[in-house]
């Protein structure tokens, strides 16, 4: 593991990091002001996003160019693998916080609120049935929970299929079949986009027909925050897949060396696994 030979590539001084920090400066202040309904915030937020997108474009572009010009030895490749692994672990922990909140509410706080021996809660809000899904004991409009066997089940199939197509693309890449590689990548991107589209449709349906909203108590909070962050990650993953598609089309990657592809594939599988957790614990149970 520690046997390294030759030169480890240390990049030259770069302005991208400080550009990214400038973006976060605008976005941090912008978001804080926006949340407090101050006009200035929207502008700052927009500028911040623009700078961040510019930075991502340039920085990732530079990395891709460095990679293609053969600056990255096997050691650097291994570093990228470790880095991506731990990044995905950090993402797992982020979702774990929200899953933890979901379990806590379902198993602990909602039953406690419905417990008649807990005098305080009862006298505060009157009789409360508890159970799941729930809006909690306070005043809330009635709603219909999201069923599992409509769109969510289809979306599960779509994501699982996209995991298969990205693997076919990987096999094609390793066997040097570039046309098949591009086709399977495009299929994966299409499935990712389809998932996002259907998820968006489901949200519209929830708001318009089910009266299920972000502020629909414990159920609405966990439903939208978990599926929302997952959808955000699918969106990022789809963009990443699209970038990889264009890199494949531009002739990047070799059958032996293609960590850019693999890293995105790992990420895509991670998004897939999170969805399975969501399907079981948010939709099904």
């Amino acid at each position: 593991m520690s046997q390294q030979t030759g030169h480890y590539y240390v990049p030259a001084p770069s302005t991208y990091p400080v550009i990214g920090s400038t973006a976060l400066l605008f976005m941090g202040f912008g978001a804080a002001l926006t949340m407090n309904k101050m006009e200035l915030g929207y502008g700052l937020l927009a500028i911040g996003f623009a700078i961040l997108i510019y930075m991502c474009f340039r920085w990732f572009g530079t990395v891709a160019a460095e990679s293609e010009s053969g600056k990255y030895g096997l050691d650097v490749d291994k570093s990228f693998r470790w880095g991506m692994t731990w990044f995905i672990f950090s993402e797992v922990m982020f979702f774990a916080a929200f899953f933890g909140a979901l379990y806590y509410m379902r198993v602990l706080s909602v039953p406690w609120l419905a417990d008649e021996s807990q005098v305080l809660g009862q006298s505060f809000w009157g009789a409360y049935e508890g159970g799941w899904p729930t809006t909690g004991p306070g005043e809330h409009a009635a709603f219909t929970p999201m069923g599992a066997w409509g769109l969510p089940a289809i979306n599960t199939l779509i994501l699982l299929t996209s995991g298969v197509t990205v693997t076919y693309a990987h096999w094609a890449l390793k066997e040097g079949r570039r046309d098949a590689l591009k086709k399977w990548m495009l299929a994966t991107v299409f499935l990712g986009a389809l998932f996002i589209g259907l998820q968006g449709y489901e949200y519209v349906h929830a708001y318009n027909d089910l009266n299920l909203r972000l502020d629909t108590g414990a159920y609405g909070s966990t439903f939208f925050m978990l599926t929302g962050f997952h959808g955000f990650h699918v969106t990022l993953g789809t963009i990443m897949l699209l970038v990889i598609y264009f890199r494949c089309a531009a002739g990047h990657f070799t059958p032996e060396r293609h960590f850019g592809f693999e890293g995105v594939a790992w990420y895509w599988h991670f998004v897939d696994v999170v969805w399975l957790g969501l399907f079981i614990f948010v939709y099904l149970l």
């Binding site: 030169h7 240390v10 001084p13 400066l25 797992v92």
Partner: protein, 528 residues
């Protein structure tokens, strides 16, 4: 490890980098970035220290003197946040940046550009935190742990604080991934995991804790933001949530965080003590296993911060015993340090003084920690000055003393000049005396029932508070001496000896000249 300077030749030829401000803005050099981290944390240390002085000035005598209660609350809140996220954590990352590549024989950090970003993200976060004092409604005032429902109220300042925490978390995660990758992938040939210096081991485990804990903090901050602004009910009982849920998630981050701030300190002390005892570290492998055990246990003890928040008795018992169990690996470390010194040819230069001071005072903090872990006692001392005393013993005389010791230990290697030994000793002894004056009496205040985070107190607490405030002022002033010593050291004309510490055994002392060249180990050394 043979002391070969052979690979020094050929360095210095490609030191090309932008000059002036752009050198620091664009740098991908781990030493430059390490220096920036250290200067940043020193700046934040004095910012947070200014707030501490404000708190102690208000508490100098009973009654409301200089800070209105609301502003006092903002002072305690931001003092905690700035010291934890702005001073202690970045200081350890600064040490990691400077030392880890040199100690494992790597040319730089694994991701040099991302390393720069990790640092520069601190600046927007610090600006958000500090400027929140000057916005309508003032800075966050709900305590550094920002529990709802208090933190669900408050205005713009609270949101600025929350987004600052988000940015700091991103910076920490990137820094941690960088460190893990560097340690796992860039060690010199022959340096197996169990040959790594203890400082590198402690940082590897700390980085793992960071990747585990910081995303959870990001999650809970996000929930708080959506509860505040988008109508979610995570921490709102009316919607089926629970404010206590916040405490669970926060402390799932918060308790590993405690060890994030102390494990690298253990690492620094584990480098200093063998050097000045002129003996190898006693029980190296047990040190590694003890560090790992502490890290694992730290993930299953979080609810000991919440014994009074309401919890089934079984839960209280579990968290009490799990917490007390941490005393075992910690004691392994303390006994190992003591055994390292046993029959060693000890000398007492400033780094060693800080390391020994660390052991004495950290053990006091550790014991008061065990006391706090006992549920029936904790119910008495919860939210009193006893808790303040406890965690300042582990954070100031623990983490901070180790940082000072490490700074004196490596300043010659970093700057090429010796620091002023006499002034260093003054810095240590004044810190030692004033620290204990400021915080030891707070144990008594807490046991007598003085609550934390309140700007006024009953007359019976007056004497101890005055003593504590005088100690705090003295401690604060003493730290100006540290700045003077560092600047004097950097500006000194006199070169430091090539190896000022004859007992030092790690690569940066045995394989690199003093001062360390801008680029080191472009060809890895061979470790035997």
């Amino acid at each position: 490890m043979a002391a070969v300077h052979g690979d020094v030749h050929g360095h210095g030829h490609d030191d090309h980098h932008p000059t002036g401000i752009m050198r620091w803005v664009t740098t991908t050099n781990h030493k430059d970035i390490g220096s920036m981290y250290l200067w940043f944390s020193l700046t934040m240390f004095f910012t947070g220290g200014f707030l501490a002085m404000g708190i102690r000035a208000e508490l100098f005598q009973p009654g409301i003197q200089i800070l209105e209660p609301e502003l006092f609350n903002s002072f305690t809140t931001l003092h905690g946040l700035i010291m934890v996220f702005g001073a202690i954590m970045p200081a350890f990352v600064g040490f990691a940046n400077w030392q880890i590549p040199m100690m494992v024989g790597a040319p730089d950090m694994a991701f040099a550009r991302m390393n720069n970003w990790s640092f520069w993200l601190l600046i927007p976060a610090a600006l958000l935190l500090v400027s929140s004092f000057f916005v309508p409604g003032g800075a966050a005032a709900g305590g550094w742990t920002f529990y709802p429902p208090l933190s669900a109220q408050g205005g713009l300042g609270v949101d600025m604080m929350l987004f600052a925490v988000h940015i700091l978390g991103a910076s920490s995660i990137m820094g941690a991934i960088n460190i893990i990758t560097t340690v796992l992938n860039m060690r010199a040939p022959g340096m197996t995991l169990m040959k790594m210096p203890m400082f590198v081991w402690t940082w590897l485990i700390t980085a793992y804790l960071l990747v585990l804990a910081m995303p959870v903090l990001a999650g809970v901050v996000t929930m708080l933001i959506t509860d505040r602004h988008f109508g979610t009910s995570f921490f709102n009982a009316a919607g089926g949530g629970d404010p206590v849920l916040f405490q669970h998630i926060f402390w799932f981050f918060g308790h590993p965080e405690v060890y994030i701030m102390i494990l690298p300190a253990f690492g620094i002390v584990s480098e200093i003590i063998p050097t000045f005892s002129r003996k190898p570290l006693f029980g190296y492998s047990s040190m590694v296993y003890a560090t790992a055990s502490i890290a694992i246990l730290s993930c299953i003890v979080w609810a000991h911060h919440m014994f009074t928040a309401g919890m089934p008795t079984v839960g209280q018992l579990f968290f009490m015993y799990a917490t007390m169990l941490i005393a075992v690996p910690t004691a392994v470390k303390v006994f190992n340090w003591t055994a390292t010194m046993w029959k060693g040819e000890m000398t007492f230069e400033t780094p060693m003084l800080f390391a020994i001071g660390f052991i004495f005072l950290f053990v006091i903090g550790g014991f008061s920690g065990v006391i706090c872990a006992i549920v029936p006692i904790d119910i008495q001392v919860q939210d009193t000055y006893y808790v303040i005393a406890h965690f300042h013993y582990v954070l100031v005389s623990g983490a901070l003393f180790a940082l000072f010791g490490g700074a004196y230990y490596w300043l010659p290697k970093w700057t090429g000049h010796m620091y002023d030994e006499t002034l260093g000793k003054w810095h240590f002894w004044l810190s030692m005396i004033f620290f204990n004056m400021a915080f030891f009496v707070q144990h008594f205040l807490g046991l007598a029932g003085m609550p934390r985070r309140i700007p006024d107190y009953a007359l019976q607490f007056a004497d101890f508070n005055m003593i504590s405030s005088i100690g705090a002022f003295g401690f604060g002033l003493t730290q100006l001496l540290f700045v003077y010593i560092v600047i004097k050291c950097i500006r000194s004309k006199e070169p430091a000896p090539e190896k000022p510490w004859d007992g030092a055994k790690t690569l940066e002392w045995t394989h690199l000249p003093t001062p360390a060249p801008y680029h080191s180990f472009e060809t890895p050394p061979v470790v035997k």
